[in-house]
């Protein structure tokens, strides 16, 4: 039986992620864990997260998970969700500026004073709700998901990748921004597949079957 470790470092509710994975892959063992050994031994790793980046980095250090995450992000199917992909970049503007894991090149930037280019109306932050995701290239995790499907988002900061070739998905909110990054065995999305109905469940099912 294959196993998936969902990294639990005290940032947010991971029950929904676990339930959604169990729903799409009943034959898989899903651990919600902060145990280094469990994460190192798992066949696949999910790195979720909610809340602020400073707390996130602080908790990762406190649980001594930083080297384990870097290792998993290089060596096995690895899925980052929401705050997860933000933590994987070099640096975030949030909380006055926080150094992140530097697994992927780029920074995390605030949605500052957005205005609708047509109406001139102020756009709400957080960017909350169902937005379309434009798939920029084929990827096994997009398989079976129609182009421009909607996924559920809640975030006030967005990913700014320094390497455009890694961006596999974009959304539009005042401007186009990166919402999915892929490199080798790693796939990371800004949205919440576990809360994105059929499209989200399909992405999780694809992750469970993925052999990069």
């Amino acid at each position: 039986m294959t196993s998936i470790a969902i990294i639990d470092y005290g940032m947010g509710n991971l029950r929904s992620v676990a339930k959604a994975l169990e729903h799409v892959a009943p034959q898989t063992r899903v651990h919600v864990t902060q145990n280094r050994r469990d994460i190192l031994d798992a066949d696949r790793v999910v790195f979720p997260g909610q809340g602020s980046i400073r707390d996130c980095m602080h908790e990762l250090a406190r649980w001594e998970l930083i080297d384990v995450i870097r290792d998993a992000a290089r060596n096995k199917p690895f899925l980052g969700l929401c705050l997860g992909p933000q933590a994987l970049l070099d640096f975030s503007e949030e909380n006055g500026g926080v150094e992140c894991l530097k697994v992927l090149p780029g920074r995390v930037v605030w949605f500052n004073e957005l205005r609708d280019p047509v109406s001139g109306e102020r756009l709400k932050v957080p960017h909350m709700g169902w937005n379309q995701v434009h798939q920029l290239r084929d990827h096994p995790l997009w398989q079976g998901i129609p182009q421009d499907s909607r996924f559920y988002f809640v975030h006030s900061y967005y990913l700014q990748s320094n390497d455009e070739t890694l961006t596999v998905g974009q959304s539009h909110y005042c401007f186009n921004f990166t919402v999915a990054i892929a490199r080798d065995n790693l796939f990371a999305v800004q949205f919440h597949p576990e809360k994105s109905a059929q499209a989200g469940l399909r992405l999780l099912a694809n992750f469970v079957k993925w052999s990069p």
């Binding site: 029950r15 909350m128 709700g129 169902w130 937005n131 559920y152 809360k195």
Partner: protein
């Protein structure tokens, strides 16, 4: 291409059972929150809100089980309101599988609670519910005031100032109910909705008074709401969520279909 406006059905739950009789065709159990939530998900609901109206605190634990069951089967965002008073209440709901909690009276008793909850759990999961009503003080311009106890008890708090303060304290979203319109089927209080939505930078959900599909579209187009919440027009199968979305689309609103 962009962010869709949301439709959120709201279910009142008393001791683990949905009340105000939801009536779908061929429904086995009209009071089962899991079955109803599944139906709404199939119809394309963007989120589901549960309002726990259980009076006795002994029975409050039942809503936790409801959320657990729904969250195991329905993979869209879930909000729970009613009786959220402490950080521990918030934690229990989030651990059960809720994505957001809606805080109402507890914020009025102690506004700092909103700040603490947002700091601890993140703004994204804190919704502040505002029940507002028009008041006409002598020798003053009319304004909207916050009411508690189902619209019976005035607080003296100005609704617009309160919304701004709650946003500053870290609310991620505002659920705005017009107590003048709630239950009337005359449509949202569009002036109120627009005033609040323009006063804050966080999303606003309009609630209270929906009787027709045009009311939903008006809430977005004229009230400037980011989402619309309704109960009875969906519960009694007057309209499906999909019909509501098609109608909104026809009026030029971006929706998820």
């Amino acid at each position: 291409m962009g962010l869709a406006k949301r439709i959120i059905p709201c279910l009142d739950v008393d001791r683990g059972r949905v009340v105000k009789g939801v009536k779908f065709v061929e429904m086995r159990d009209a009071g089962d929150p899991v079955e109803i939530a599944r139906r709404y998900d199939e119809q394309g609901a963007d989120e589901i809100t549960f309002l726990d109206i259980t009076a006795s605190s002994d029975d409050r634990e039942t809503i936790v089980h409801v959320v657990e069951q729904v969250a195991s089967e329905v993979f869209i965002p879930l909000t729970v309101g009613g009786g959220i008073r402490t950080l521990d209440d918030v934690r229990r709901m989030l651990n059960a599988g809720a994505d957001k909690v809606s805080i109402n009276t507890a914020a009025i008793h102690r506004p700092e609670f909103v700040r603490e909850a947002a700091e601890r759990f993140g703004n994204q999961c804190i919704v502040v519910a505002i029940d507002a009503k028009s008041v006409y003080p002598a020798n003053e311009a009319s304004r909207w005031e916050i009411f508690t106890h189902g619209g019976r008890r005035p607080t003296g708090i100005d609704a617009i100032e309160w919304a701004q303060r709650m946003a500053k304290y870290g609310a991620g979203e505002i659920l705005l109910t017009s107590m003048d319109r709630d239950g009337t089927k005359r449509g949202f209080d569009l002036e109120l909705t627009r005033a609040i939505s323009e006063a804050v930078s966080i999303p606003v959900i309009a609630s209270g008074g929906v009787g027709t599909l045009d009311h939903l579209a008006d809430g977005i187009l004229l009230g400037k709401a980011d989402a619309v919440l309704a109960a009875s027009i969906f519960h009694f199968a007057e309209y499906t969520i999909e019909q509501a979305k098609r109608h909104m689309l026809a009026r030029g609103i971006e929706v998820r279909l």
